[in-house]
Subunit: 298 residues, 2 copies
Amino acid sequence: MLDRIPLEAFRVFDAACRYMNFSRAGRELHITQAAVSRRIQGLEEQLGTKLFTRRGRNLALTPEGDRLAQRVRATLDYLEESLEPFRGEGRETISIAASGSVSHLWLAKQLKDFDNESPSVSVRLLTTDAPSELASEANDLVILYSTGEHPRWNLTLLMKEELVPVASPGFIERHRIDPAAVAPHEIAGLDLIDYERFNAHWISFRQWFARLPDPPKARITPRLSFSTYSLAVDAALRGEGVTLGSVGLIADELASGALVELGSRRLETGYGYHLGMPRYRSLTPGAARLHQHLLAGI
Amino acid sequence: MLDRIPLEAFRVFDAACRYMNFSRAGRELHITQAAVSRRIQGLEEQLGTKLFTRRGRNLALTPEGDRLAQRVRATLDYLEESLEPFRGEGRETISIAASGSVSHLWLAKQLKDFDNESPSVSVRLLTTDAPSELASEANDLVILYSTGEHPRWNLTLLMKEELVPVASPGFIERHRIDPAAVAPHEIAGLDLIDYERFNAHWISFRQWFARLPDPPKARITPRLSFSTYSLAVDAALRGEGVTLGSVGLIADELASGALVELGSRRLETGYGYHLGMPRYRSLTPGAARLHQHLLAGI
DNA sequence: TTAGTTGATGATCTGAGATCATGGAGAGGT
DNA sequence: ACCTCTCCATGATCTCAGATCATCAACTAA
């Protein structure tokens, strides 16, 4: 049915509905009131129903007209939005979603570097721990905590997850700990800092100890627990205890000595942080550049 | 930006993308290949980017072109769909969602009557007990088991829920029951027929007895349980035991004597079946007629 | 090499859509 | 009640964005 209707008629109809005034609609569209009237009349003929009622100079939408108006408005909004990438200057906005931990501890710095390299691209970082928001296809790119497979995203490994207890030098000194030689059961007796597990696969201290070849017999009772992983890391940096370090996320802190590994047991979980690009659509130029930048930042 | 682009250009672009051939696109649209070429060229100029690459007679979409093509296709599909209500004959399809019980026991008969009165309207009845499907705004009308409030639907009470034990005359005779005088504890000792509670608010026998002023001490152990309420009613009609009758839903069966109330305790639950019309959009003419018909059928 | 098909383009055409002018219908002010 | 103003509808007429025509270049298939 649409093939027999000039699409411009919808634009005219939309303007007429917004103003409820053919003269003003015509002024917006730079055509005369008579042209608007003709267009509406033509549309009504094609559709076989009245879209407006007229009484003297008063216009009102019929119920059919009202419903169509809503959908036509939505259509034009959607199409207008589709043209955003073609706007002048080519300033492009990319959205990327990542969990709180990877956002705070790794991605924010990478984005800063990227911004310096690509000033014409805006990046919108969605920081969330909700799996559905993380993997939403509304994003141009995502960073997912995963084994590497996802039905809608092509994933490339950024960093494997390796978990190792870490503490600040100050904490280590206060507790007279030999970082290289400390045994798991000794670690279990220290002040442990845990974090919320938003994902059933996440591993916090109980799971970490359980997976050791020789798990300590004592019950694992962390003294502190934070709502986010990066808050837990912050607490460890302040010397408040031992947290589980994901080596890739705290690489800088380990390199600088602000955090020190305890013991020699790094647990590989089989998970990791993966950069995802959409499986069924192409990347915008800016998103492609960000994708490459993040891979290079490993 | 859209205001500077003739909307017909998108229709031409869409056809060109679907065929990847300007000549065939032109044949579909009843214009010449040259006209298609002009349109695409004009669109590319307006957008400031190439949408197709050309090599000899071979066309390919650029990444920008591909993305735009997907959205333009979606736009045209949506608009085409918006015109469905205006198709010839005016045969309108309404969708109404209701739970299994109200569908089978009340609504089906009402729809039959409606169909006789409004042969030009098709009704699609979605029978489901899933709350999210029931209240989905994809429906034109809904029947909800509710207290009467809903954020997205304007609800009108069809029938209050009053629950009373009922059995067939045959069952009553076989068990020498005085229907008017039978006490709750005596009812509790009969063969009870229960049903699945898909909604936490639903009341089956345990809840019914618990709400009596003098609940029987014995444990309520129904002998039969069915997956749907109407199956439970069918079993009671066959004389297999006592079920809880929602008076409004089995009005015909009570009136005809096919089911008989046991005892004098009708429990008003505070819930009821409500006819819902959308809060934020208008009804189609056919849906408005069905709405009126169902209210009249109380 | 030839034939066929497709896209691009200069020159030219054309009719859907526009304007102009006017009349009817209401609303608001006096 | 009358006048003024604004808006929509419409007959008559105009017009230019979009169409066609004709031709050329570039490729593919036989």
